[in-house]
Subunit: 392 residues, 2 copies
Amino acid sequence: MAESMTETTPRTPGAQPQRAAATQRPGSAAPAGPLSRPPGGGEGDSGTAGVPDGQDAALILDRARAAVDPELRSAIASLPAAMRRIASYHFGWEQADGTPAAGHAGKAIRPALVLTAAAALGGPRAAAGAARAAAVVELVHNFTLLHDDVMDRDATRRHRPTAWTVFGDAGAILVGDALQALALGLLAADPHPAAAAATARLAACVVELCEGQQADTALERRAPEEVALDEVLAMAEAKTGALIGCACAVGALYAGAAGEEVEALDAFGRQAGLAFQLIDDVIGIWGDPGRTGKPAGADLAARKKSLPVVAALTSGTPAAAELAELYARPHQEGEEERAALAVERAGARDWAQSQAADRMARAVHELSRAVPDPAAADGLLALAEFVTRRTS
Amino acid sequence: MAESMTETTPRTPGAQPQRAAATQRPGSAAPAGPLSRPPGGGEGDSGTAGVPDGQDAALILDRARAAVDPELRSAIASLPAAMRRIASYHFGWEQADGTPAAGHAGKAIRPALVLTAAAALGGPRAAAGAARAAAVVELVHNFTLLHDDVMDRDATRRHRPTAWTVFGDAGAILVGDALQALALGLLAADPHPAAAAATARLAACVVELCEGQQADTALERRAPEEVALDEVLAMAEAKTGALIGCACAVGALYAGAAGEEVEALDAFGRQAGLAFQLIDDVIGIWGDPGRTGKPAGADLAARKKSLPVVAALTSGTPAAAELAELYARPHQEGEEERAALAVERAGARDWAQSQAADRMARAVHELSRAVPDPAAADGLLALAEFVTRRTS
């Protein structure tokens, strides 16, 4: 059952000009090459909301939030009162009792990718026309969060109690259902010529997200020694990569891009999404709690079969046997360090980081296929770096 | 808090030419008038699947199943294996272990309404072009059944264990999510010129279905004396009437009908749906177990706040007080008869039956607005009669 990590890692040598980047630590600077961002940034603000041009990721995200927020709020305002209240709580706009809250609805990475992909392939006007599509992708993301939290019994999201803990399972399930309907209905009704294709693509992505969550649930129930590394990689691509890829593809569709460019941008997003998941799993084992709200070792204590854990378990090393033995019995306080050390000694921390760098290199390669002009690709590259930067 | 039934029943005197029908027993023949079906039926089979013409409801339903089944099966076949299996079980095509099952996926009333509405307003060609839309409405219906069963902890559906009892909550929630995505995605991608408007309308209907289920959950949690009759009527319209209305409206859209006709057919479906719910609630109290699989009194034993129960509780009669006292304590075996008698003595059985007849009369009126030609309206009338005939 134990498989070596190099065997289970898909490799396509020769196909990736940026391959040298795979040896870089994730979170370090982008690989030097034609797609690197120029040191001084770009030409500055084009004046159109959500259309970045050589700005850094934080600015791109701020602008995406500003462009998408009115669409998002008007969509939620259209819900019947009882569901509007649960949604407003989930988005961080209201407290559980309905009083206003200061928080905002997350980093808006997916809407930023829609707008930035549209801008990269169609310029500022394409991005300006994609604000509704960007909000729709964020609605879909939040529908899946609401449902995943119910299924996983997760009690905390964005440092607050999850919606189901406050409003019950039925409330969280129904609001998730309603958000999916709002999302696909709004996109289908968008007069933009790409709307029908984007709706069909986003709907297909929802099926893939469900498949990923289904696989995750099934994997968590199986014995650790019965889980193969490519299964977990496929699950992570469906659960995390698919929607990030779809966000980029929807942006490309809204720019009127050709089929090949749309697929390349989808692949860019999928690979960047997998890199993000690998880094997120590293953080779930080794820190850092101050920035993420997640204590170091939390995933190990919860016996989660995250990517580094399965890589370690299937490494065929002595440390794999030690980790398997730990995972076979319930967690005891203070054992996280021993488990983390076993994962590290099995080579899985290095594996995860080089995998993440490898995925980023693939992402950059796909980006160069879709958007050959480095200046135009700049914003998407900045966002991909941002989501994988958390390890530094 | 107690309200008289006549006060809480919305009435619009003078607006309904078929108003005399309100005094008829539900389930008896359709009101005599221009929309009555001619005794000999219509001109016979037009030769196009799903295009009824003066046939009776059973034949219309058979044809609708034949027209929609390939679309439905191909949609489910497109799901990833783990979810396909749960969906195939839910639709009655497979046993829990994956072996084939003989059962079929329910009566297909909603797809039949889509096809029959399209035929009524656009003839056989319009109906033939609406097969995908009809399958999509059935997918939406089944997504809501899967989720409602999880939320209501209902253990039986179509005489079999519900999907969540066999595959777990997560499986049933995810397959429901995937069916909604399949449905709206397929409709959005349909090349028919009405596809975008139909997708937006169906998505808005899903939000209303969620609102109805949310209201139902909330009402069931409240004390009986705190529930008003119009709240339960509004809940039933959202939960049951909305999708039946939407099915008719989607058929009208696919026939290229004008806005007024679309709205009138939606209203026809809503009123027929409410009539169906009233009759279903009567059966939930007084029978008949042989045909429905539901023992008489089951809703009373479960302390359900169905339409006749709330009508009785808010009647201001001595029987209302007796029923309230019964509902205030847990059910004891054999008490169903006493509770049923109290509902009857409060006048709520008669109320439910005259309400159902009243709703049917309104439905017929809306139908005559949308489809003035009695021969063309024939199939829709037959279906509306069919769904409310169960009381006889």
